[in-house]
Symmetry: C2
Subunit: 338 residues, 2 copies
């Protein structure tokens, strides 16, 4: 039998005070502002507290100070491999400042995101919204209630960290042009995605610069399966190289191509985005770095700065990306066999 002693009330500050023969404020200080007490009284109090098994009550402290030592981190889909490293980094950074993080999963749903925010607001000091699906209006509403930092969402007036995949994608286009490709296809991602807009724009612009023909195909959702399904369409465009919205889609495309016996990279070059797969595909995927870890760290650093300064000029931190060349790209076959 398990009998959690909920009733066996945890020791309070008063009990420690009595046992140590001091006032409650002294006990409080011994824990939060030891430098205000004499060295030996601190030791005495701490030892008595330890004996009794006293642990400061976080909730009571928060009610009194308004400081909870918690931040909220909301992502659209924790199962998407893009986010875990970001979350981990954010967590690590928070821990450094002795903060705990509430993780929220909006499930790509703005209603859910709104609801989470409401539930969190009264127990956190700040919020980080990653790839928010909220309207600008709602974002501003929440930002007015609590310090708030955005990742991969560009709302002027709200501190934000942007991963600019544009540069990396442009490099990818150039890389392909250098290899001798003259026709490439971009497989786009979610319409509402800020990132997709960046990438599409970069493909078009860089394509124009290098005089390439650009085709566009749309993958409804950024998943392996969606990628697999559009693979034939990609081949049908006549392009000799494909740039996918992200690595998952790229991986699906590679599988689809393999099914059709289209050799990679000989007959078709493939480029991913976000580098979430590492070299774990075969052939190893050429992709665009993501810097999501730095994004997580930076967002929290920004948030803590906001908390400290109480005010902050319109911050817009952009992280650049670059191409990571592996084995899924090569010169097009036709050029090699003149």
């Amino acid at each position: 039998m398990v009998t959690p002693q909920k009733s066996a009330h945890a020791p309070t500050i008063s009990q420690v005070a009595d046992a140590a023969g001091v006032s409650r404020s002294s006990v409080s200080r011994a824990f939060s502002k030891p430098h205000m007490l004499r060295e030996d009284t601190v030791q005495h109090i701490l030892s008595v507290a330890g004996k009794i098994g006293y642990v400061p009550n976080h909730t009571a402290r928060a009610l009194s100070t308004g400081r909870h030592g918690n931040v909220a981190l909301i992502v659209p889909d924790i199962a998407n491999p893009f986010f875990p490293p970001l979350i981990q980094a954010a967590q690590k950074r928070a821990d450094l400042s002795n903060f705990c993080v509430f993780l929220g999963n909006s499930n790509e749903d703005r209603g859910q995101e709104d609801k989470l925010l409401d539930r969190f607001v009264s127990q956190v000091e700040g919020v980080v919204l990653v790839s928010s699906r909220l309207s600008e209006e709602r974002i501003k509403y929440h930002a007015a209630r609590r310090p708030l930092v955005l990742i991969n969402r560009d709302v002027s007036g709200i501190p934000r960290v942007l991963i600019d995949s544009g540069k990396g994608v442009a490099e990818a286009v150039r890389h392909l042009a250098d290899l001798g490709h003259v026709h490439i296809v971009y497989v786009s991602g979610p319409r509402q995605s800020w990132s997709d807009r960046q990438r599409r724009k970069a493909v078009n612009e860089a394509g124009a610069t290098h005089g390439l023909k650009i085709s566009m195909i749309h993958a409804a959702v950024p998943t392996y399966e969606a990628g697999r399904q559009v693979a034939p369409d990609a081949v049908a465009t006549g392009a000799t190289a494909v740039i996918a919205f992200d690595d998952l889609v790229a991986q699906g495309i590679m599988a689809g191509l393999a099914q059709q016996r289209v050799k990679i990279p000989e007959r078709m070059s493939v480029v991913g985005c976000d580098d979430v797969l590492g070299a774990a595909t075969y052939p190893a995927l050429t992709t665009v770095s993501n810097r999501s870890i730095e994004a997580g760290e930076t967002a929290l650093a920004l948030l803590f700065e906001l908390l400290r300064a109480q005010t902050m000029s319109d911050m817009r931190h952009v992280l650049s990306t670059e191409l990571v060349v592996r084995d899924s790209t090569a010169a097009p076959a036709l050029r090699q066999l003149p």
Copy 2:
């Protein structure tokens, strides 16, 4: 400029009371026990509250009631694809009961895990520990402070949810035996892992049952890279099939084999575990299902039951697994070409 109005205090229950011309207790009741008030006064209070923008203060309520509406979920490595679905499921289940979840990442470090627990204890009503690295003693200590449920850790007396991969692994061995394999190799995972012990035991026992020769190889960490590195060793054993600790290792092995031009499944069959990759490998990986989603749901259901009942008989919920046959296993080549 951004100026979060920390000082623009959120509306309190008193302000609502004044504005609505009722006492504070009435406002309190309107939110927590509406049935104790007349229908129209509830409506009135609620509408006034909405107009003012009042939101009940979670912290104050928790201090008063001892109920926070939060649970802690601690995992060893959020970036391991095994956990996100579990976390997501747990979150969904918690949301159903209007609970928020604190996510903790122990980073495979028991010290960190202990520290997280201490930080969480005073702001959560219960805890779920996934694949805990803590000693039994510490687990029992924490379980005595708060209702606690374990996932993939078997400590008698503590409610626990176990994913028994043993059955699925046994099926895998049998599957290979049926295909005609007579010598297989198991690539093991972390020594401290409860799951690895289950799997190794199952391989040995099922191997004996079917009269197979079993070799053992150890991958220091369960990663793609570790798998890739041991691939040659797996070939060197002379086995015609390999069962890997998990899908990541299996994927690494597949890459390593491909480098050596060892065809899969013709020259070597590969079986993974946990089914975290879906069919996203090429060839699609035969693996053992994981049921981590149910584990997450069940653990939270158990926890809420514990919270409700205040006591619970020694619960040990085990989830069985099964083999998922895809394309990475086949009859050994030697048998096919007599």
